[in-house]
């Protein structure tokens, strides 16, 4: 293990640079319109901060202390317990993989089970089916068309352009979880 700084970007480019502590980190941006600004800014920061460890801490701390107006203008952090952070959808029967190949399925049945809803999805050929348990009310009627979009971390179920559920695979399950830690004060 070597102390240093990594920067990671998603999708379009692999934007990872590594530098030992105290040295510079400059990356390109995934957004070309930000590239020049970002590089100039990185260079400026490199000269101002004596150790790479300081970077993220110092930037914000300085601005907050010096400019309360800026602080109040910025949005506070949000505990996103909802949305997909709580994605608890699981396949309880059949396979989504076959449906994902076809890309669409039809809701064959909807059953409320306690605080969850179990949807049976059927492919156009009737040969492929999958039962998916969704936390809460899926709000889908029998006969609704569902798009099944495979991503590297699982399957996204969409209907009429809206996300119905995210069903994580093994990789996704390792990435998507959240729980509050009880305060002891």
């Amino acid at each position: 293990m070597i102390p240093g700084v990594l920067r990671v970007a998603s999708c379009e480019e692999e934007l990872v640079r590594f530098a030992p502590c105290g040295q510079s980190v400059i990356t390109a941006s995934t957004d070309a319109s930000h590239r020049e600004h970002d590089m100039n800014r990185s260079i400026r920061l490199r000269r101002q901060v004596s150790a790479a460890l300081l970077l993220a801490f110092t930037l914000h701390t300085t601005a907050r202390a010096a400019d309360p107006a800026a602080a109040s203008a910025a949005t506070a952090s949000e505990a996103s317990v909802g949305s997909l952070a709580a994605a608890g959808s699981v396949v309880v029967g059949g396979s989504l993989a076959l449906l994902a190949v076809a890309g669409t399925a039809v809701v064959a049945s909807v059953t409320v089970v306690g605080a969850s809803t179990v949807m049976v999805l059927r492919g156009a050929s009737d040969a492929a089916t999958a039962s998916v348990r969704v936390v809460g009310n899926a709000s889908l009627a029998v006969g609704s068309v569902v798009d099944v979009v495979a991503v590297s971390t699982g399957c996204v179920l969409m209907s009429a352009g809206r996300i119905v559920a995210f069903v994580p695979n093994e990789v996704g399950r390792a990435l998507v979880h959240q729980r509050p830690l009880a305060s002891l004060r």
Partner: protein, 175 residues
């Protein structure tokens, strides 16, 4: 702009954050506006989480600090809006982020243990992460701190968007 006169103070703040560990200076950074996820935003957020996971694995580190660009703070000449600890051997799963969040629009906060995918799921301004790997001794001390209940004992739910590390009556998700 960071003046040279401010550097000693900054260094102290960072040192306190790393060695005491319960506070992390910098802003938070998830937008409060209602957000409707799309297949693309889910894919990109989780992909960034996966890439960060893989990079952390490859680094050989046991613990690191991870930052995200949840909001556009360019008008303040800031890039990263939030930071937390990411610990390889967290009981909740490999490479779990431990950080403070406040409820949107509220003045109270909680500490959370969160997967790397969840960390990037809420439509960040840029799908980028910064990972800071401390030296081995600092890692050892940070892990010892997270293994115990020091963060929970030091956490104060009184929250302010202003990150002032010397405040005694409130905390911020980054300081």
């Amino acid at each position: 702009m960071i003046s040279s006169m401010r550097r000693p103070v900054i260094a102290f703040v960072v040192g306190a954050a790393l060695l005491i560990g319960a506070t992390e200076p910098a802003l938070a950074g998830r937008p409060c506006e209602p957000y409707e996820p799309t297949a693309l935003s889910i894919s990109k957020g989780l992909e960034l989480g996966k890439r960060s996971f893989d990079r952390l694995d490859a680094s050989g580190a046991e613990i690191a600090l991870i930052a995200r660009a949840g909001q556009n703070l360019g008008q303040y000449r800031l890039r990263w809006s939030h930071m937390g600890f990411v610990w390889r051997d967290h009981p909740d799963g490999r490479w779990t982020v431990v950080h403070e969040l406040n409820g949107c629009g509220s003045a109270t906060s909680s500490l959370y243990a969160e997967g790397l995918g969840s960390f990037f799921l809420d439509d960040p301004f840029r799908y980028e992460a910064m990972i800071v790997i401390p030296d081995a001794e600092t890692q050892r001390r940070l892990v010892a701190m997270l293994r115990g209940d020091l963060p929970q004992r030091m956490h104060d739910a009184h929250y302010s968007v202003v990150a002032y590390p010397f405040a005694t009556d409130y905390q911020n998700s980054n300081g």
